[in-house]
Amino acid sequence: MLEKSDETILNLLLSGVPTNTERGLRMMMEKYQERLYWVIRRIVAQHEDANDVLQNCFIKAYRSIHTFEQKAKLYTWLYRIATNEAITHLNKQKKTAVSSLDDEMSYYANRLSGDTFFDSDAVQQHLQRAIEKLPDKQKLVFNMRYFEELAYEEMSEILGTSVGALKASFHHAVKKIEAYFNEKEIF
């Protein structure tokens, strides 16, 4: 079911008139850019990566807007593009940067310490590192639930996974993060 403003955005985007298409795209970006940015940023960690992924996400959405079936929310569709792009970006980076387990540990540590737009206390830094080490699917589920506070039903719609599987995934992610903090003796 589309919201009123989403309907306007889509009508403009699909109008075929260049000025209207541009207006629709601008409206869509202004409405969703911040939410999508944080979704992406929590996956890729660094601002520069998040910026690249977010721009790609909007360009992809613009190119394939005619494939959007208006049964789902526009945000749900954009969210799926954003998370796919972020995970693809992350995997590409991992392939080039990580060749051993030691490399992987230092890779995660460097990702956050090298980001000028990450300024937090030690506990928050550890939380981000613990999240970074989660498998991609668990990381996505944890971010959606923990930071975006999405209901399982909405997550299920976005990810195409059952509510039960999502709950189990979130549970595992929380336990792994706790284990990380236990190991570092930060409590």
Partner: protein
């Protein structure tokens, strides 16, 4: 749709530590004015993409166009000179080959087919037609095999001939002979 309460309850039972941590800032920030400038940046990328796609493409060429292009290429001075030189070479080659085919074999080679007896008879019956100097040049010397050596001239015949024609042979020729 946010599920703040549901999450708080869930975290309380799963991990009280993470529930407490959730209330703090994450520490992640976005640069100043980032969200204000982003739409313009994305739109300019898309405009550039559209401009690149809309740029006139080189039209597809038909075989007629290709022929015209070839002719034009041949008419360029450098290509025309090169083509002319090659053509002249070919013509010269053909002419030389035909000349070789039509030119008769040299006289000596042609005479190989004539028997010694025939030649001897011919010379004897037409001896007046030959210049005596030429006859001597061709084969008189015994040490040097020459044209006449092949015909088994009898020395007596030659001596008879010389005696008969002694008046016609000049002094210098006689000196050369002896």
């Amino acid at each position: 749709m946010k599920d703040k309460n549901g999450l708080r309850e869930e975290l309380e039972s799963l991990s009280p530590f993470l529930r407490k941590l959730k209330e703090k800032e994450t520490g992640m920030q976005a640069p100043e004015n980032y969200f204000k400038e982003l739409p313009d940046r994305v739109l300019s990328q898309i405009r550039e993409e559209i401009r690149t796609k809309a740029a006139p493409q080189k039209p597809g060429t038909s075989w007629v166009d290709n022929c015209i292009q070839y002719i034009q290429w041949f008419l360029q001075p450098r290509a025309a000179v090169a083509f002319g030189v090659v053509l002249l070479g070919i013509i010269a080659g053909v002419i030389f080959w035909n000349y070789e085919k039509t030119t008769p074999a040299p006289p000596i080679a042609a005479m190989e087919e004539v028997s010694s007896e025939e030649l001897y008879d011919y010379l004897e019956s037409n001896i007046e037609d030959f210049d005596s100097e030429l006859l001597l040049e061709l084969g008189w010397s015994e040490q040097q095999p020459g044209f006449f050596n092949e015909f088994d001239f009898d020395v007596n015949d030659i001596n008879d001939y010389l005696e008969e024609n002694i008046d016609e042979i000049d002094h210098r020729t006689l000196e050369n002979l002896f």
